[in-house]
């Protein structure tokens, strides 16, 4: 929670502002962080940075934003950390309930549909979380589901979310979607290339976004299971 300092026009005031201020309680706070997911033919990658910030401060350098849900699904949540924690707790509870009622784990597509309903249940006081689910579908193919804070979702092959999303998404459009390139062969993405691309992309994001940095946590989902890798990033 964070008491925002507002001036007359409703915009947040500068750091060294002196003069009359109106203190207003906001139930939300922005804790930064970037999340990225890429789907391949038989794998999916979910990556996030591990910096937790608030305003001009860094609360923690080791707060990853990817959460393992099942053996075939990982979710990345960025935005307001309080809502991220509660939302992941609720998703875990729903996963358990499903497992107990139906005697099987939820598939990635089912988790995505359930999350959409959970988010829409709070339509009038939303979870301030940008979610991206990465995992394998029933056929073993990679799947990425990206959400907005109130539950609208779509399946795709790649998506960036969080504070540096506007910087990363165009780069992914070019490198994975081959957008704005003419006369180029569309090569399918293999796992090694995808991991290298994710590392490069986060290094770029850490250069230009204050809320992204410290370390990068990569979760690689394959039919063998989930492998985690940590790569250091700029700490400034």
């Amino acid at each position: 929670m964070f008491t925002q300092v507002y001036g007359d026009n409703g915009k947040m005031k500068e750091y060294h502002y002196t003069g009359p201020v109106e203190h207003r309680f906001s139930p939300y706070s922005f804790n930064g962080g970037t999340v990225l997911a890429v789907a391949g033919e038989d794998f999916a990658i979910v990556a996030s940075d591990t910096r937790l910030s608030e305003g001009y401060s860094i609360h923690s350098r080791d707060s990853p934003k990817c959460y393992k849900l099942t053996n075939t699904t990982v979710i990345g949540c960025s935005g307001f950390h309080g809502d991220c924690l509660t939302l992941t707790k609720i998703i875990d509870a729903r996963l358990k309930m499903y497992k107990h009622s139906n005697n099987k784990s939820m598939t990635s597509g089912a988790i995505a549909a359930t999350l959409s309903t959970i988010l829409y249940g709070r339509r009038f006081f939303p979870y301030y979380v940008y979610n991206i689910i990465g995992g394998l579908d029933e056929e073993g193919k990679g799947a990425v589901y990206s959400f907005d804070p109130v539950g609208s979702y779509q399946r795709g092959t790649y998506k960036a979310g969080g504070s540096a999303s506007a910087m990363l998404q165009p780069l992914l459009d070019n490198q994975i979607g081959f957008k704005n390139m003419e006369g180029v062969q569309h090569l399918p993405l293999n796992q090694e290339k995808a991991v290298q691309l994710v590392k490069d992309v986060f290094i770029s994001a850490a250069e230009r976004d204050v809320y992204t940095g410290d370390a990068l946590r990569i979760c690689i989902v394959t039919k063998e299971g989930i492998k985690e890798e940590t790569v250091p990033l700029r700490k400034d």
Partner: protein
């Protein structure tokens, strides 16, 4: 209310959690997030002016006011054409949004306004239509389906839902087309275009529909052209043109064309 009762069936007591918070949240919420400003603009489809706020709760929800969707009836059914762009402020969140929702094999719904609002309520409508089919042993009519949707969202009138949808289908009275929105409007008609690019689309379709007896091919071309022209002039519409045709057997997905490809095609035809 409908929302709470639906969600209660799936979860244990998360709906109570939401309900208690509502009193605390509503006054605060409207001040912080400014969603109610959307309601007044509904029919004129003016672009939301909250784009100017910085990152934060203000502009996080994807609203598809910037969109162009159209549907028109003709001799052989209904043509439904939509663009595929979603914007969050001035950032293009996605160029591949599916703005046509397949309610069931003979009913389609279009999406304009809040993406989550449209997809959630139309998914709920699909469930209600299925229940109707099971109870009455016959398919639901387009008029009844659109009425169910209108009545569901009317309970939330004034609370900030943003939805402008066209329910299109074929029932025993022939082709059906209804415009339903979150303000409570429900109108039957032969032609509707919804969204920021709607005026451009109307121009194309109105001139093309002068010849009464269109073939399926011509009608599809008209719908595609109308959306293309709207994406050309409207900054908030773009991506791909998704085209569906509703006929007596149900709906068929006719085509998905990238606007850039269409541009090159039309330029070549001009030459």
């Amino acid at each position: 209310m409908a929302l709470a009762s639906v969600l209660q069936s799936e979860s244990v007591d998360f709906s109570n959690y939401g309900r208690q918070r509502h009193g605390f949240a509503s006054g605060l919420y409207e001040a912080e997030l400014g969603l109610e400003s959307v309601g007044g603009d509904r029919l004129s489809f003016a672009l939301s002016t909250s784009c100017s706020n910085e990152d934060g709760p203000d502009r996080k929800i994807e609203f598809l006011h910037g969109t162009t969707t159209l549907a028109f009836k003709f001799q052989h059914g209904v043509i439904v054409a939509v663009d595929s762009r979603a914007t969050a402020g001035s950032y293009i969140a996605s160029q591949t949004v599916k703005k046509v929702i397949e309610i069931n094999p003979y009913l389609l719904g279009t999406m304009a306004g809040g993406a989550a609002d449209c997809s959630f309520w139309e998914r709920l409508l699909a469930r209600q239509c299925r229940v109707y089919e099971l109870r009455n042993k016959e398919r639901i009519s387009v008029a009844a389906a659109s009425k169910l949707l209108a009545n569901m969202v009317y309970q939330y009138k004034g609370m900030g839902l943003s939805m402008g949808t066209m329910v299109c289908g074929w029932d025993k009275t022939g082709p059906g087309l209804y415009y339903v929105d979150s303000e409570g409007n429900r109108v039957c008609g032969d032609l509707f275009a919804v969204g920021s690019g709607s005026m451009y689309a109307y121009g194309i379709v109105d001139s093309g529909l002068k010849q009464k007896d269109l073939t399926v091919e011509e009608a599809c071309d008209l719908g595609r052209r109308a959306i293309y022209q709207a994406t050309y002039r409207d900054a908030y519409s773009g991506g791909q043109v998704n085209l569906y045709h509703v006929h007596s057997e149900g709906w068929t997905r006719v085509s998905q064309s990238d606007v850039l490809m269409l541009h090159q095609q039309y330029q070549a035809e001009k030459a």
